[in-house]
C-alpha cells in the first residue's frame, strides 16, 4: 500500500433536489399542523398567534392581545407577521413560522452561497493535490477497466470514475504523485462532481435543522457555519471520497428526520419515500467508506427507539406493529444490502482486466481477469520434480510463500533467512521442487520427468537464494505457539529439517498433484508441524510482510492449505485449465476480507507524527493539500478556527443546558408552553444530533489504524447542526426573560446577527486557506495570513 494514503471516514447527504421543496410545504398543509403550532404559539409574552381552530383562552393578557393584532395584520394565524428581514435576524423569541416566501428564499440563498463557495476557483491548483493521487488514479482504473485493490468499498471511486468518463476524461493521466500537473487532461469534471455533492451538504443540513427545530434562524445559522467553514470548502473541492461520503451521510440523516416527521401518517407515500431514501443513502454511505457504518448505527438506534415507542402504543394492534417492523426491515436492511451488493456486482463487472490489485486475491479470482497470467491459463497440469512454482495460501487474502536475502533479526528465533507470505507477485515467490534425497540437476532436459505424488517427501528450494524451506523447534516470531520457518542451507544443501511431506486434501497415496486445483498441505517431517500463514503482519524488519509459521496444531484451516499457482516446467506440455469459477458470493466475501485486512494493516509507524482524535475538535492541526514553500500555490485543510471553536464551546454549553433542562423537568418545574417547546427541541432534536456527533467521533479513539484530520468532518457536520440548534434555543431563552417583546426581539436578533457577522468576518480572514495562498509564509508580515497563525501547530 502506498503510505500516504489516508483513510477517511466521511458522511454525506442524500438525494438532493427533489426533497428540497416538497417537505415542509406539504407539512404545513397537513391537518395535524395547526394544532401543533397552536400549542407552540400560545405563549405568555411576546406575540401570540392563536389559531382559529384552537379554543380561545378565557382571558387574554394585554401582550396576547397585541399579538393577536399582529396576527390579524399578518392575515393568517399560521403565518404570523413579518417582523424584519428574515434572513438576517429572526424576530421575537416566540417566533412563529416565517411567511411563506421566506423559507424557499432562504433555502435558495443558502444553496446558492454553498455552490458559489465550493465552485469558486475549482480549477486551482491545476495539479494533483494530496489524495487525488489515489482516488483520481482509481477513477482512471475504472475508466480503463483495470482491476485494483483499495481498502474502501467501491462506490465512491466508481462515481468519480463515472464523473470523469461523462466529462470527457479519458483515464490516461497517471496521477503519480501530488504536485503533478494535469496539463491538457480534463480533471474539472471529477472535481466538479465532488464539489457538487459537497455543496449539497449545506441545504441538507439546513433542512435537517429546520425539520428538527422548526426554527428558521437555527437552520440559517447551521447553513452559514457550513458555508463559511474553510475546512468544508477545501474538502469539497478536490477529487476525494469525503464529499461523497458526507453527501450520503447527510442524506441519510435528512431522510431519517423527515421520515420521523411523517410518523403521524405511516405508510403514506411520503413516509415510504423518506424511509426508502434513508435505506438508499445508507447503502451509499456504506459503499463509499466503512465509516458509513456509524450513520447506519445512528439510523438503527433511531429505528429501535421508534419501534419501542410504537410497541408501547396500545392503540396499535400487534399486526400493525408487525407491519411497521416489516417495512423498516425491508427499507433499512434489505434494500441497502441489495444496493450494496449490486454496487459490488457492478464493480467486478467493470473491472475485468488484470491490474495492480491481483495478488491480493485468490488464484480462482485472478483467473477471471483478462490479462492475468491465470486467465485462460495454460500450464503443465501435474506437478513434477524440477518444476518452478509459486504457492499461494488459501486463507482469505493469503499471500505467496516468499523468501528474501534478509535474516531474522537477533532474538527472533534462529538467525536464518526470513520466510514470509507476500501479497504481490514477485520473483522471490518462486520455489523449485526437489527430491529430498538427491540433488541431481533436474533441469537437464535428458532426465526423465518424474511427477510429484501425494505423500511424497520433497524439498522446496528458493530459486533466488538457493536456500531450502526449513523449520525447527524455535518459536515463530509472532505466533509464539508455532515453530519458526526459515530458509536454510547453501546452494540447496541443508539438513533433514528441510524435508516436507506433500499431501493433497482428500486424496490417497500415489495420486498426482494438480496445479491450481489441488489443495495442498506441507507437513514438516521432523516435527510433524504443518506449514501455514498466521495472517499477522511482521514488524519493520520483516518488511511488513505476513508471518509464515509451522503449526503443531493439526486443525484443518485454510491457513495451513496452499495451492500451486504458477508452474514452469519446460519438459511438460502446457494444458489449458478451467479453474473453478468462484461464485459471486465468494468473491464478495473475499474482497471484504481483503479490505478489512488492508485497513487494519494501516498502522502508524514508529516516530511518525500522527493525528490524534483529541486534536480534531480543537482544530489543532490541518493537512497540507498542496504546496510547501513560499513560491508554491498552497492549500491547507484547516477548519475556520472561529467556527470550530464556537462548535467546541457549544458542545459544552449544550451539555450544561441539557442537564439543567432535564433536571428542571424531573423536578417538576412548571414551564410555560413556550419553554416546553424549547426544552423539547433541546432534549429531543439536540439529543439526536449529539448522538450522531458521538457516534461519528468516539469510535476513532479506539481505532488502531492511522488517523487523519479529515476523519473528523462527518462529526463536524453534526457539531455544526448542534451549534445552530443550541444557540437558537439559548437566544430564545435569554430573550424570554425580557418582557417587552421589542427588547426581546432586539436581544434575539442582535445575538443572531453577531454570530453571523462573526462567522463572515472569520471567513474573510481565513479564506486564503481554501482558495490558495502564494507568497511568503504566515510568519512574514506581508503574507495574507500574517498574524493569523494562532496556533503554533498550524503550518501555513
Amino acid at each position: 500500500m502506498a503510505p500516504p494514503s489516508p483513510p477517511a471516514p466521511l458522511p454525506p447527504a442524500g438525494r438532493a433536489r427533489s426533497q428540497r421543496r416538497v417537505p415542509w410545504r406539504r407539512r404545513r398543509s397537513s391537518p395535524s399542523r395547526p394544532a401543533l403550532r397552536a400549542r407552540r404559539l400560545r405563549a405568555p409574552h411576546g406575540r401570540d398567534c392563536i389559531p382559529r381552530r384552537a379554543p380561545r383562552p378565557a382571558a387574554l393578557r394585554p401582550s396576547m392581545r397585541r399579538a393577536r393584532r399582529g396576527a390579524a395584520r399578518g392575515g393568517c394565524p399560521r403565518m404570523p407577521p413579518r417582523q424584519r428581514e428574515p434572513r438576517r435576524g429572526p424576530g421575537a423569541p416566540p417566533r412563529p413560522a416565517p411567511p411563506a416566501a421566506t423559507r424557499p428564499a432562504a433555502l435558495a440563498l443558502v444553496t446558492l452561497l454553498s455552490f458559489a463557495s465550493r465552485f469558486h476557483r475549482l480549477r486551482e491548483p491545476p495539479h494533483v493535490c494530496w489524495d487525488e493521487t489515489h482516488f483520481g488514479k482509481m477513477g482512471s482504473y475504472y475508466i480503463n477497466r483495470t482491476f485494483f485493490f483499495d481498502v474502501h468499498p467501491p462506490l465512491g471511486k466508481m462515481l468519480i470514475g463515472l464523473a470523469g468518463y461523462l466529462s470527457g476524461y479519458d483515464g490516461t493521466f497517471p496521477f503519480q504523485k501530488p504536485g503533478d500537473r494535469y496539463e491538457q487532461h480534463n480533471y474539472v469534471g471529477m472535481r466538479g462532481f465532488c464539489a457538487f455533492l459537497g455543496s449539497c451538504l449545506v441545504p441538507f443540513a439546513y433542512l435537517t435543522v429546520l425539520e428538527l427545530s422548526k426554527s428558521l434562524p437555527a437552520a440559517l445559522l447551521t447553513a452559514f457555519i457550513l458555508i463559511f467553514d474553510t475546512g468544508c470548502i477545501t474538502l469539497s473541492q478536490y477529487i476525494l471520497l469525503d464529499p461523497i461520503l458526507m453527501f450520503f451521510l447527510m442524506g441519510a440523516v435528512l431522510s431519517m428526520v423527515k421520515c420521523n416527521s411523517c410518523a403521524d401518517r405511516p405508510f403514506s407515500a411520503s413516509w415510504w419515500f423518506w424511509l426508502s431514501l434513508t435505506g438508499v443513502s445508507l447503502a451509499g454511505a456504506m459503499g463509499v467508506k466503512f465509516v458509513g457504518l456509524f450513520v447506519v448505527l445512528l439510523v438503527g438506534l433511531n429505528t429501535i427507539y421508534d419501534l419501542w415507542d410504537l410497541l408501547g402504543n396500545l392503540s396499535l394492534s400487534l399486526v400493525m406493529f408487525g407491519k411497521h417492523l416489516l417495512a423498516r426491515v425491508l427499507c433499512l436492511i434489505f434494500l441497502p444490502l441489495a444496493l450494496y451488493t449490486a454496487m459490488f456486482a457492478v464493480h467486478f463487472a467493470v473491472l475485468n482486466r488484470s491490474g495492480p490489485g491481483d495478488g491480493f486475491f485468490s488464484s480462482a479470482f485472478q483467473s477471471q481477469l483478462i490479462g492475468n497470467n491465470l486467465h485462460n491459463v495454460s500450464v503443465p497440469e501435474h506437478l513434477a520434480y524440477g518444476s518452478v512454482v509459486t504457492m499461494k495460501n488459501l486463507r482469505m487474502a493469503g499471500g505467496y510463500l516468499h523468501s528474501h536475502w534478509h535474516l531474522y533479526p537477533e532474538g527472533v528465533g534462529a538467525r536464518q533467512q526470513q520466510v514470509t507470505a507476500y501479497l504481490h507477485k514477485d520473483l522471490n515467490n518462486l520455489w523449485i521442487i526437489k527430491k529430498h534425497d538427491s540433488d541431481t540437476d533436474l533441469s537437464d532436459p535428458s532426465s526423465p520427468v518424474e511427477f510429484v505424488r501425494h505423500g511424497d517427501i520433497i524439498r522446496l528450494e528458493h530459486k533466488e537464494t538457493s536456500r531450502n524451506l526449513h523449520s525447527h523447534q524455535h518459536e515463530a516470531p509472532l505466533t509464539r505457539k508455532h515453530f519458526q520457518v526459515t530458509g536454510y542451507g547453501i546452494n540447496g544443501t541443508g539438513d533433514s529439517n528441510d524435508f516436507w511431506r506433500i499431501e493433497v486434501v482428500g486424496r490417497r497415496t500415489g495420486q498426482l498433484i494438480k496445479v491450481l486445483r489441488s489443495q495442498v498441505r506441507l507437513t514438516h517431517v521432523a516435527t510433524g508441524c504443518v506449514l501455514g500463514s498466521s495472517g499477522k503482519t511482521l514488524p519493520k524488519w520483516g518488511w511488513e510482510q505476513v508471518e509464515v509459521t509451522c503449526t503443531p496444531y493439526l486443525k484443518e484451516t485454510p491457513n495451513s492449505l496452499w495451492n500451486f499457482e504458477d508452474h514452469i516446467n519446460p519438459k511438460l506440455p502446457n494444458i489449458s485449465l478451467d479453474v473453478l469459477k468462484p461464485s459471486f458470493a465468494e468473491i464478495l466475501l473475499e474482497s471484504h476480507m481483503v479490505m478489512i485486512r488492508g485497513n487494519s494493516g494501516l498502522k502508524p509507524k514508529d516516530n511518525e507524527v500522527t493525528s490524534k482524535p483529541w486534536h480534531w475538535p480543537i482544530n489543532y492541526q490541518g493537512l497540507r493539500f498542496s504546496g510547501v514553500n513560499e513560491t508554491d500555490y498552497r492549500v491547507y485543510l484547516l477548519g475556520n478556527p472561529v467556527i470550530w471553536w464556537l462548535n467546541l464551546v457549544t458542545i459544552g454549553l449544550y451539555l450544561l443546558i441539557t442537564v439543567a433542562t432535564a433536571v428542571a423537568l424531573k423536578r417538576g418545574v412548571q414551564l410555560t408552553s413556550e419553554l416546553k417547546e424549547l426544552s423539547r427541541v433541546v432534549l429531543h432534536a439536540g439529543g439526536q444530533i449529539t448522538l450522531g456527533w458521538l457516534l461519528h467521533y468516539l469510535p476513532f479513539f479506539m481505532m488502531g489504524r492511522v488517523l487523519y484530520f479529515h476523519h473528523y468532518f462527518p462529526a463536524m457536520l453534526f457539531s455544526s447542526m448542534l451549534t445552530g440548534i443550541t444557540w437558537d434555543a439559548l437566544l430564545k431563552f435569554c430573550a424570554g426573560f425580557l418582557s417587552p417583546s421589542t427588547t426581546a426581539r432586539k436581544v434575539y436578533g442582535g445575538g443572531f446577527l453577531a454570530l453571523v457577522l462573526l462567522i463572515l468576518y472569520s471567513f474573510y480572514l481565513f479564506h486564503p486557506l481554501s482558495y490558495g495562498m502564494i507568497g511568503p509564509m504566515a510568519s512574514h508580515p506581508s503574507s495574507p495570513m500574517a498574524g493569523l497563525r494562532w496556533m503554533d501547530s498550524w503550518e501555513f
Partner: protein, 689 residues
C-alpha cells in the same frame, strides 16, 4: 469483620453511667453461623498448603521482581497497572521479612530459604477467601433468599479457577475482592438510603464504596469497569431521587455532594496517594530509569543524579553538553558523532555527502559531547560572566572530540530519503557550503525569553537555511553506521513530536580553548553543585503517562487466548510443572459452574427481553416488586459480567484466561438469581397451572 453478621451489644443500656449497677450487663450477639462457616471453609480452601509448591509459579516470576525491587527501594515502571497491587504484594514480603534477594528469572525455580513464601502468598489468599462471604452478603443485600445467597457463596467457594488464582502471588484475587467489596458496600448504602440517610452507617458504606473502588482501580485498571458500573448505578439512583418531589432542593444538593465526595473525590485522592507512597518508597535509581525523562532520573538517588548533581543550570555559549532525545524510543540515546563518514554510495545506489556521520547512540560515550558555540565568535569556552542561550537564539553545535560542526543540507538521509541528511561538516571544497546554523526553540518555555536550562528544557533545533528540524528517525543504521540510530533533518515537520525534542543531560562550562586540553576535559566526569527536585504532581503525571503509554511488544504468549475462548473455556494456562514428578498446576474453570453460569446469563437475557416486551404492551407477568428485584440483580450481576468481559473484545493486548475471572465471578452470582426467580415465579405457575 465486615461479614461477621450483625453483632448487637446490650450497649443500649449504657446510656446511664452507672447502669451496670442496677442491671446486669448482657451482651447478646447474633451470628450468622452459615456465614462464619462459609468464611472458614473459604479460608481453608485458599490457605491449605499455601507454601506448596515452593517454587516460582507462573506470573509470580513477573510480580516477584517488583516485590524484590520494593524491598530494595529501587525505582521501576510497570506498564501492567498502577502500583497499589504491587505494594500489597510487597507488604506480604515486608511482613515476612523478605530482603529482596532472589533472582526471579524462570517459572519453576525453587525458592531459596530467604523467601517467605507463606506471607508473600498470604494476602492474595485471604482476599480470595473473603470473596466467599462477600458473595453471600451481596445476594442477601439484593433481597434474595438465604438459600440463594448460600448457593452463590458455595459456587464461588468451589470454583477451582478462583482457588488456583488466589493461592499464588497474583493480583486477580485482590482485584476481585475489592470489586465485590465495592458492590456490597454500595448495596448496603443503597438499602440504608431509604430509612436512614446521613446516618453513621450510611456514611460508612458510602465511603467504603469509594475506597474499595479506588483500591480496585489501584490494583489493576480493570477495576475501572466496575467503578464505572457503580458510578452509573449511583447516577441512576440519584436521577430517581431528583424526581422525588418530597425531597427539598437543599437536601438533594447535600445528597449530590456526599456522593460526589465519596465516589469521585476520595477515590481520586486515594489513587494519588498510592502513587505518593510508591514514589516515596522507591527512591533509588534502577533498571527502568531510562524510560523516564532526565529530570525524573535526576530526582532518584544514584544513577543520573550522581552525575548531574551540581551541574550549572543555564546553558551558555561555550557550554559542553550531551543531548538526549526526549522520546526515548526505540531506546534512549544521545546525539553522537564519530570520525567515520557516510559511505559514498549506499547499498541501494543512492549517493551521500560522504561527510562525518551523526547518529543517536544509546550508550554514554565521550563522543556524545557537543559544545554550544556563538556563530559570531571563535571561542569555545564560557566567558565570564556566562552568556546564557535563550529561546530563539542561533547557535552552532561543535562536536567535542572532532571539532566539526553539526550540519544538514539537501541530501537525502540514508534510511529516510524524505528527510535531510545530518552530518558533521567536512569541507571537501566541492561547492557544498557549510550550513551549520541552528535556532534553539525551547518548547516547554514559559516566556519567549526563557533561558535554555539543563535537563528541564525540551529543545527543538531548527536549521536556519532549510527550516528542517533535528529528529531521531527511529531507524537503525546498517553496519557502516554501527547499528546506531539514524538522525535526520525533518523538512515537513508536522507539528510537535517527541522525536524532535532534545534535552541537555550532562553539562559543564567549558574552560579549555586548546583542543588537547579540551579532550582531557571532556573525558573527565562532570562535577558541580545544584540539585533539582521535581514536585510530586510532576512526577506523578510523568509516571502515570509512562504507565499508560508504555507498550510492551505485542507478542503472543504460549498460553494467551482470545476473549471468545473464555466463555467456552477453550483454553487453560499451565501454571507450574514439577520438573521430575510431573505434578502440575493448571488454571482451569469448573466446567459445571461455567456452563451453568453461561446458561443463567442466556436465560436471564431472554427472560428479561420477554418481560420487557410484554410490559411494553402492559402485560405484567410478574409482580412489580419481583420485577424490580430481577432488574436490580441483573444490573449488578449481569452488568458486572458484561462490563468486565465485553471490553476485552476491543483490546489489542495479549489476553489470558485469568482476565476473565472478575467477569465470571459476577456471572456465577447470576446463577442463584435466575434459579430463585424460576422457582418463585415460573415453576410455581407451572405447578399451580
Amino acid at each position: 469483620e465486615l461479614k461477621r453478621g450483625t453483632g448487637r451489644g446490650g450497649g443500649a443500656a449504657s446510656d446511664r453511667m452507672l447502669g451496670f449497677l442496677k442491671e446486669p450487663v448482657v451482651v447478646t450477639a447474633k451470628i450468622n453461623v452459615s456465614l462464619v462457616a462459609l468464611t472458614v471453609m473459604g479460608l481453608m480452601s485458599r490457605l491449605w498448603r499455601l507454601c506448596y509448591p515452593r517454587a516460582v509459579v507462573f506470573d509470580e516470576v513477573y510480580y516477584g521482581q517488583f516485590v524484590s525491587l520494593y524491598m530494595k527501594r529501587i525505582f521501576f515502571v510497570d506498564d501492567s497497572g498502577p502500583p497499589f497491587g504491587h505494594m500489597l504484594l510487597a507488604l506480604g514480603g515486608y511482613l515476612g521479612g523478605f530482603d529482596g534477594n532472589f533472582l526471579w528469572n524462570r517459572i519453576g525455580a525453587e525458592y531459596s530459604i530467604n523467601v517467605p513464601v507463606w506471607t508473600l502468598r498470604l494476602l492474595p489468599a485471604l482476599a480470595g477467601a473473603l470473596c466467599v462471604p462477600l458473595a453471600y452478603q451481596i445476594l442477601a443485600e439484593l433481597h434474595f433468599s438465604h438459600c440463594a445467597a448460600l448457593g452463590a457463596a458455595l459456587l464461588i467457594l468451589l470454583e477451582n479457577s478462583l482457588i488456583t488464582q488466589s493461592r499464588f502471588m497474583l493480583l486477580e484475587s485482590i482485584l476481585i475482592f475489592f470489586i465485590l467489596l465495592a458492590v456490597l458496600s454500595y448495596l448496603k448504602f443503597y438499602n440504608l438510603q431509604k430509612h436512614s440517610s446521613f446516618s453513621g452507617s450510611w456514611w460508612f458504606w458510602l465511603l467504603l464504596t469509594g475506597v474499595a473502588c479506588s483500591c480496585a482501580v489501584g490494583v489493576k485498571y480493570m477495576g475501572l469497569f466496575t467503578y464505572m458500573l457503580l458510578l452509573a448505578t449511583a447516577g441512576l439512583h440519584f436521577w430517581h431521587m431528583i424526581g422525588d418531589q418530597n425531597l427539598s432542593n437543599v437536601s438533594l444538593l447535600c445528597h449530590f455532594l456526599a456522593r460526589a465526595l465519596a465516589l469521585i473525590i476520595i477515590p481520586m485522592g486515594l489513587y494519588l496517594s498510592f502513587f505518593y507512597v510508591h514514589l516515596a518508597l522507591l527512591y533509588r535509581s534502577g533498571p527502568h530509569d531510562q524510560i523516564m525523562t532526565s529530570a525524573f532520573q535526576a530526582s532518584l538517588e544514584g544513577g543520573l543524579a550522581r552525575i548531574t548533581q551540581g551541574q550549572p543550570l543555564e546553558v551558555a555559549y561555550g557550554s559542553q553538553i550531551t543531548l538526549r532525545n526526549v522520546l526515548g524510543k526505540p531506546m534512549q540515546c544521545w546525539l553522537h558523532s564519530h570520525t567515520n563518514t557516510y559511505p559514498i554510495r549506499y547499498e541501494n545506489g543512492r549517493g551521500s555527502s560522504h561527510q562525518q556521520q551523526v547518529t543517536c547512540y544509546p550508550f554514554k560515550d565521550v563522543n556524545n559531547w557537543w559544545i554550544v558555540k556563538d556563530p559570531g565568535m571563535q571561542q569555545l569556552v564560557v566567558s565570564n560572566p556566562p552568556r546564557p542561550v535563550r529561546h530563539g537564539h542561533i547557535v552552532q553545535l561543535v562536536h567535542g572530540i572532532t571539532t566539526r560542526y553539526l550540519n544538514t543540507h539537501d541530501v537525502a538521509a540514508p534510511l529516510s530519503p524524505h528527510s535531510q541528511e545530518v552530518s558533521c561538516y567536512i569541507d571537501y571544497n566541492i561547492s557544498m557550503p557549510a550550513q551549520n546554523l541552528w535556532r534553539v526553540e525551547i518548547v516547554n518555555r514559559e516566556s519567549d525569553t526563557d533561558v535554555w536550562k539543563t535537563i528541564l528544557s525540551e529543545v527543538r533545533f531548527v536549521h536556519v537555511n532549510t527550516s528542517a528540524v533535528l529528529k531521531l528517525s527511529g531507524a537503525s543504521l546498517p553496519e557502516w553506521g554501527y547499528r546506531q540510530l539514524e538522525v535526520v533533518g525533518e523538512k515537513l515537520s508536522k507539528g510537535y513530536h517527541q522525536s524532535m525534542l532534545w534535552n541537555v543531560e550532562e553539562h559543564r562550562y567549558g574552560k579549555s580553548q586548546e583542543q588537547k586540553e579540551r579532550e582531557v576535559e571532556l573525558h573527565s566526569p562532570t562535577q558541580m553543585d545544584i540539585s533539582k527536585n521535581l514536585s510530586f504532581m510532576a512526577k506523578f503525571t510523568e509516571l502515570q503517562w509512562k504507565i499508560l503509554t508504555l507498550k510492551n511488544e505485542d507478542t503472543e504468549h504460549k498460553y494467551s487466548s482470545s476473549a471468545l475462548d473464555w466463555i467456552t473455556m477453550d483454553t487453560n494456562i499451565a501454571y507450574w510443572l514439577h520438573p521430575t514428578s510431573g505434578a502440575q498446576i493448571h488454571l482451569l474453570g469448573n466446567v459445571a459452574t461455567w456452563a451453568s453460569a453461561n446458561a443463567a446469563a442466556l436465560l436471564y437475557l431472554c427472560l428479561s427481553l420477554w418481560y420487557l416486551l410484554r410490559r411494553r404492551r402492559r402485560i405484567y407477568d410478574i409482580p412489580e416488586d419481583a420485577w424490580q428485584l430481577w432488574m436490580a440483580a441483573g444490573g449488578i450481576c449481569g452488568g458486572g459480567w458484561a462490563v468486565n468481559y465485553l471490553p476485552f473484545f476491543l483490546m489489542e493486548k495479549t489476553l489470558f484466561l485469568y482476565h476473565y475471572l472478575p467477569a465470571v465471578t459476577f456471572q456465577i452470582l447470576l446463577i442463584p438469581v435466575v434459579l430463585q426467580h424460576l422457582s418463585d415465579h415460573l415453576c410455581r405457575e407451572l405447578w399451580a397451572g
